[in-house]
């Protein structure tokens, strides 16, 4: 046991002495969680809107006001000429145009069904859809109010309409950070542990100390444990700091058990540390290790369901995500955070996570032993 302790001591000495390492470990993750937490959002806000009110009636002005008084839309201009409206969208000045045709208010009062036009820049299809949804909601709300003010005969058909009363479960306020930030924590944990392990091992290879260690009586398992235990501890400290900071800054609620989260994180770290060992066996320098690590991380992040919901991926890619340990941990951390899931709810993710962790770890350790021989 003692040689392992000497390895561990050496590893900590080196980490805490290297200023770059301290920055990577403790400053970078905080900055990242801040930046990513605020910037990465599925919410669509401040859609630039141009209004073409060709009607200029009381009703059309009411509609215009409704669009002005929400932070979903930013009214960037009023225009009557349709050619200019098209130009504004083409020149990126507006993402959406609302066109109220002449006689719109009059036709409504007469009880006929006039139309108005909403033009959306569909380049970013997702945002366009969301924007259209917002516009529809605002217009419907207006329509309901108009209906109430109207004579009973005219609004009769509205009375039979089914009304949706929405109530969200788990994330009552639809706080976007509540969903995104735990995912970002997973990414940071992955980055740190993978990079620590791959760089840490490759560095010894690069400067020749690995060879030196291999001619000592130090066993290979002692060498690996001596390296990995400090990385495991550091990854945990990392996880704690980032989680606490994220909760404090983004007011995220933790519904589940920290102990459970810690335990499952340890299982997840088997995959990432194992992958780190693997990377170190196929690379010869820290730069190469960094490069290969990033390749793996990018794939893992893209196929984790963090940015792109897995259900939205093509069927083939969906199948590929089952090979991605991060996919399982992503789902686990969200379940624990949002739903306060207990271990028994998570089994369908925990079992493959543990399976992959063990597989990757054993494979990498064997490869390391062979390589280093």
């Amino acid at each position: 046991m003692t040689p392992i302790l000497y390895m561990i001591r050496k590893e900590f000495l080196q980490v805490f002495r290297t200023r770059e390492m301290m920055a990577i470990l403790f400053v970078a993750p905080l900055v990242q969680v801040l930046v990513m937490g605020f910037a990465i959002t599925n919410e669509v806000k401040h859609i630039t809107l141009i209004i073409a009110d060709q009607d200029n009636s009381v009703l059309s002005r009411e509609i215009t006001d409704a669009f002005t008084h929400t932070d979903r839309f930013n009214v960037v201009g009023y225009e009557r000429d349709m050619a200019r409206v098209g130009e504004a969208i083409h020149a990126w000045q507006a993402q959406m145009a609302l066109v109220i045709p002449p006689g719109f208010g009059r036709d409504i009062r007469r009880g006929s069904r006039p139309q108005l036009q909403v033009i959306v820049d569909g380049l970013d299809g997702n945002s366009a859809g969301v924007a259209l949804g917002y516009a529809g909601a605002i217009l419907q709300e207006r329509a309901r109010q108009v209906g109430r003010q109207m004579p009973a005969a005219l609004s009769l058909r509205n009375l039979h309409r089914v009304e949706l009363q929405e109530r969200m479960w788990y994330n009552l306020n639809l706080n976007n950070a509540q969903y995104m930030v735990p995912g970002i924590v997973v990414v940071l944990l992955t980055v740190i542990s993978l990079i620590l392990a791959s760089i840490g091992l490759v560095r010894e290879k690069e400067i020749g100390t690995l060879e030196q260690l291999l001619v000592t009586p130090l066993k290979k398992y002692q060498l690996l444990l001596g390296k990995l235990i400090p990385f495991l501890i550091l990854s945990f400290i990392e996880l704690g700091i980032v989680l606490k900071a994220a909760q404090w800054i983004f007011a995220i609620e933790m519904q589940g058990s920290y102990l459970l989260l810690a335990g499952l994180s340890a299982i997840y770290l088997f995959s990432t540390l194992g992958l780190g060992i693997f990377v170190s066996t196929i690379t010869g320098s820290q730069q190469q290790a960094m490069f290969v690590s990033w390749f793996f991380m990018l794939l893992m992040i893209m196929l984790s369901g963090l940015f792109i919901p897995i259900e939205n991926m093509p069927p083939l890619l969906q199948k590929v995500t089952y090979l991605n340990p991060m996919r399982y941990f992503m789902s686990i951390i969200r379940d624990i955070f949002q739903k306060g899931a207990a271990a028994r709810h998570l089994l369908q993710d925990v079992i493959p996570l543990a399976g992959f962790g063990l597989l990757i770890f054993i494979f990498s350790v064997l490869k390391f032993q062979k390589r280093a021989a």
Binding site: Y6, L13, R17, I207, G208, T209, E211, P217
Partner: protein, 244 residues
Amino acid sequence: MNSQPVSVQTEGLTRRFGKFTAVDRVSITVNQGEIFGFLGANGAGKTTMIRMLCGLLKPSEGKGSVAGFDVYRQSEEIKKHIGYMSQKFSLYDDLTITENIEFYGGIYGLSREAIRHRREQLLEQTGLQDASRKMTRDLPLGFKQRLALGCALLHDPPVIFLDEPTSGVDPEARRSFWDLIYQTADNGKTVFVTTHFMDEAEYCHRVSIMRAGQLIALDTPGNLKKQYQQRSMQEVFVALVEAG
């Protein structure tokens, strides 16, 4: 010298990598306390030979023993009884001198007291007492090299392998490093050294020369010079290697 016990012995030791034979039936006997030089151009098989003797690489064929332990079955025992120092010096630049010594002492399984004792000894030997808290990276190359040798000798091994230990060091530091090698051999340790400096070959008790995996000469520098009628080892080496 033949009265000394045998320290390293091989018989027909061979290592192949696929179809390529890196070391081809090499037989040597090195006695305790001997400084045994290993010469050869790059790729001649010196490093493969050393790696097999250190237990880093399993031979394909032949016999070999180091400090009385078999290279096939007892590589773990061999590791406890050898020291190894490569051209890279293998110290941690971002640890202090003391930390390096303590680390290697701990890895070799030395007790706390033993480490402290050896540390004081080594610091005195290398004249680094006052610099013990200095970062290793700040040391001049010559000192680093002596420190690395000291670390490789912390556990008092009977055999030490030096793989081009003096490359990149200035002549004066090389000279004083060889004084250290002589001291080590005088203490009864076997020194196995590879080098490509021919003047250093002259310092060895016996020299072996490898070419394309095969041992083509093995004798004292004096005998080799006589045999090939050359004035220096440099000329012997050139004559031998070019003859191939």
